[in-house]
């Protein structure tokens, strides 16, 4: 549908790629009245920051494995686009070159055997009947009452059993693929500190209205070979059973000390060049407390410098108490939503969007970039912004970037089932076999990461070998991974699954989201991995650009190793100031005037009787 000829041939800023930093910059430029053209060769938003459903993820994997499949410019710029005197074309790279060592694996059979199907249909017959009868009730009402004509109500898809609601037994690949749309699998999962720079930017720019978040419900750590909840609020500290009364006082004192800015210099005198570990030891913390503070709260290692540890502790504590029980938020539908929120704002302020429109080359004249060649068209602009993954190699400093190791696991229950659906952050401390800490984020169905009854575990660490080698040990501590050989696909899986879960398979579902299962029986059973993926991605946040790059080409880094989006926000702001030193970075976008509500503080009570307090000027109404 997209016709190249319709794209504006001249604008202020061309942004190539819809990664996080690129999208923030596009929004910022558009917001201050610049004409922005934002293109991406992919048919999805986000580039290496995207979230995919299961089907699209498989496509992405295939594209990475066969880069020639990847969206490429169908037109040869040399034949279609004229090079003027004094100009040269500088060709762009393919972004999949940043991905390596991809390994995707199913750990469950394709489908059930006939005997299993029979067993299952007997088990689920009752619930299926209930479902259908309620459906037909629903279908009676609408057409009679309203004149909008709708003659059909029950479509095929409504009748299909949905994962988690009708299936209790063993999972199959077919089950998951049937609900492929209900997955949102992140390439670059990140949490937001409640007072981190992205949360503040979303609020100050009013882009928050395009986003929804879940508060992370708990912070876990790995201690003495098992999972432990880290007490991270005052209430938690006093509620925990794992910490004695004396320890509680010590912990509160220590944390208060880190937050007391007046006495900071005095408190840390002599530790400026020492490690945070040395400081914590000087406080004679017990082993448990030291572990909580160093590895979970400061997310540090044994070599983290003292003041960095203090800063990290402060960042954690500062973000407490704003939303929920922990300092973190997770974006609903995955982190891939966040670049899109900025793109939406850019479009609302007049930016032009065109996916499936790869950029082939930059047009450079007199050491300035005058535009971009895309789909046989010259697109001219004052500034060109692009993701580093596509940047021409001669514009990079030549320094080999480090790497990120990523693991994604779809599982049948939480790593530590709890009464309400948990959303977990776990910083796995470094150990003898894994020199780098591993960031683990577990999300459940209510974040729309996966269908009911399933969970998704993300693991991220600095790359030392391949992603699989870096992460498989940690994965084995937390999860049970069974390899299904091709010959197993059609063999009954009943026995194996009974052995591993140690209970009747049809209890699986209740352990998941509702967590109402028999705690004693399930708490020691590790979740089973149904599907896994490993890959490596380049970490480009430390890379700088060659002085050869034209001044008006602005390169944006790919996903970085840090937990939050701090780096992208700062990079976008820095680049914006370089482009437009005198203009404001993402000033507040106006609300449609009608939705500014004044007067009494509204209160909404949810079904559990929890009330949510609203400020007096509520910009965002809710039912």
């Amino acid at each position: 549908m997209a016709s190249a000829n319709d794209l504006p041939s001249t604008c202020d800023v061309i942004v190539v790629g819809t990664g996080m930093t690129e999208s923030i910059l596009a929004a910022a430029a558009s917001r201050v009245g610049k004409q922005v053209l934002h293109i991406d060769g992919n048919d999805y938003y986000g580039g290496l920051w995207a979230s995919f459903n299961l089907d699209n993820l498989n496509k992405w994997v295939k594209d990475c494995e066969n880069p020639e499949n990847f969206a490429s410019d169908p037109d040869d710029p040399n034949s279609d686009v004229k090079i003027n005197n004094g100009e040269e074309f500088v060709f762009l790279q393919n972004q999949t070159s940043h991905i390596s060592n991809i390994e995707v694996k199913w750990h469950i059979p394709k489908k059930l055997t006939e005997t299993q199907v029979e067993q299952w249909s007997r088990k689920s017959q009752t619930s299926q009947e209930e479902k259908e009868s309620s459906e037909s009730d629903e279908s009676k009402s609408p057409t009679e009452e309203h004149t909008l004509s709708r003659k059909h109500t029950n479509s095929e898809s409504e009748k299909m059993p949905s994962v988690g609601f009708t299936r209790n037994g063993n999972w199959t690949q077919e089950d998951l693929m049937r609900d492929y749309r209900r997955f949102n699998i992140d390439l670059a999962p990140k949490l937001l500190f409640a007072r981190g720079s992205l949360v503040e930017l979303l609020i100050s720019s009013n882009i928050a209205r395009y986003t929804e978040f879940h508060a992370v419900t708990r912070v876990l750590t790995w201690l003495d070979g098992e999972l432990n909840a880290v007490p991270c609020s005052r209430a938690d500290v006093f509620a925990t059973r794992h910490v004695s009364v004396v320890e509680k006082r010590m912990l509160m004192k220590l944390l208060t000390g880190c937050m007391d800015s007046d006495n900071l210099v005095q408190e840390f005198q002599g530790f400026e060049s020492k490690t945070f570990l040395e400081y914590l030891k000087s406080k004679r913390l017990t082993a448990h407390l030291l572990h909580y503070v160093l590895y979970a709260i400061a997310m540090g290692t044994d070599t983290t410098p003292c003041m960095e540890g203090v800063e990290r502790t402060q960042r954690f504590l500062n973000s407490l108490g704003r939303y929920g029980n922990t300092p973190f938020l997770w974006p609903m539908y995955g982190t891939g939503e966040l670049p899109q929120a900025f793109c939406r704002l850019c479009a609302v302020f007049g930016g032009t969007y065109c996916l499936q429109h790869p950029a082939k080359a930059l047009v450079v004249a007199n050491e300035r970039c005058v535009g971009v060649v895309s789909c046989g068209q010259r697109l001219m602009a004052e500034h060109v912004v692009m993701g580093i993954a596509q940047a021409p190699t001669q514009y990079l400093d030549g320094q080999q970037p480090s790497g990120i190791s990523r693991g994604v696991f779809i599982t049948n229950k939480s790593i530590m089932p709890s009464e309400k659906e948990p959303l977990t952050f776990l910083q796995f401390p470094p150990g003898p076999s894994h020199p780098n800490p591993v960031t683990v984020i577990e999300v459940g169905p209510s974040t729309h990461a996966c269908p009911q009854g399933l969970f998704m575990v993300h693991m991220t660490c600095k790359q030392s070998k391949s992603a699989k080698e870096d992460l498989q040990e940690i994965a084995s501590f937390l999860l049970t991974q069974e390899d299904v050989s091709p010959s197993d696909y059609d063999i009954s899986t009943d026995n194996r699954s009974t052995q591993t879960s140690g209970q009747d398979p049809h209890h699986h579902h209740s352990e998941g989201a509702s967590g109402s299962g028999d705690e004693a029986a399930t708490v020691r059973t590790k979740p089973q991995v149904l599907w896994s993926m490993y890959f490596n991605c380049l970490e480009t946040s430390k890379n700088s650009y060659s002085p050869n790059a034209p001044e008006n080409v602005h390169l944006c880094s790919g996903p970085d190793l840090e937990l939050d989006f701090e780096f992208s926000v700062q990079q976008a702001e820095r680049l914006f100031k370089k482009m437009y030193p005198d203009l404001e970075f993402l000033p507040r976008a106006p609300d449609p005037e009608e939705i500014v509500i004044e007067g009494d503080t509204p209160e909404v009570v949810d079904e559990d009787g929890n009330s949510f307090e609203f400020d007096e000027e509520v910009q965002q109404p809710s039912s």
Binding site: M1, A2, D6, L7, Y45, S141, P142, H146, L148, S149, R150, K151, T153, E158, L202, I203, S204, N206, A208, R209, Y210, T211, E212, F213, H214, A215, T217, G321, Y323, G324, L329, Y333, E337, Q340, A341, C343, R344, A347, V348, Y353, L355, Q356, S446, A589, P592, E594, I595, P602, D606, E607, N610, S611, F612, E613, D615, Q619, Q620, P621, S622, S623
Partner: protein, 203 residues
């Protein structure tokens, strides 16, 4: 507090030039044509209507031009209660694209979303899509159907009022996707959300 009992998010999709913005402006402001420049910076329009004595607030989202090159962000479809798919009855290509739009809707919108097919510009003399063809398409795809004219204000009020009524009906019978009833919408200055297992909007 403004007293409204329900808030619903309604989103419009369809090809460029079928009159999506005109429908929204006609309904919310009674204007036609809306004037192009005015759309810059406007995200969604709000109108509170009354159904059976209850105040219902409709938040109506437009595509911000991203439909031009079929580049609508998935997040646009998230949390929508109703989705209006619009074509121009005097322009066959806008009708031919409907299956593409449906695929996109299937992919990103909640499967419980109320879907309405609208043939706009029914005032035009040069009709290319007979009404029964539009109706048939809607039937096959399990959608409500209506022809409108933003220009003549024909059926525009009716379209949105019936959406509001239907959504209210669904909300009462709890069929509605649950996002609004469970998401506290919190203001940037608000420091607490009541329940950490609920999702929150920061703003």
């Amino acid at each position: 507090m403004e007293d409204y009992k329900f808030l619903f998010k309604v989103v419009l999709v369809g090809n460029s030039g079928v009159g999506k913005t005109c429908l929204v402006r006609r309904f919310t402001q009674g204007l036609f044509p809306p004037g192009q420049g005015a759309t810059i910076g406007v995200d969604f329009m709000i109108k509170t209507v009354e159904i059976d004595g209850e105040k219902v607030k409709l938040q109506i989202w437009d595509t911000a031009g991203q439909e031009r090159f079929r580049s609508i962000t998935q997040s646009y479809y998230r949390s929508a209660h109703a989705l209006i798919l619009v074509y121009d009855i005097s322009c066959q290509p806008t009708f031919d694209c409907l299956p593409d739009w449906l695929r996109e809707i299937e992919e990103y919108a909640s499967n419980k979303v109320l879907r309405i097919l609208v043939g706009n510009k029914m005032d035009r003399e040069d009709r290319e899509i007979p009404i029964h063809v539009g109706e048939g398409f809607a039937q096959r795809h399990d959608m409500y159907f209506l022809e409108t004219s933003a220009k003549e204000a024909e059926n525009v009020e009716k379209l949105f009022m019936e959406i509001a009524a239907e959504l209210m009906e669904q909300a009462r019978s709890k069929e509605l996707p649950r996002y609004d009833t469970i998401s506290p919408t919190i203001n940037g200055r608000t420091t607490s959300i009541g329940d950490n297992s609920c999702c929150s909007k920061i703003s």
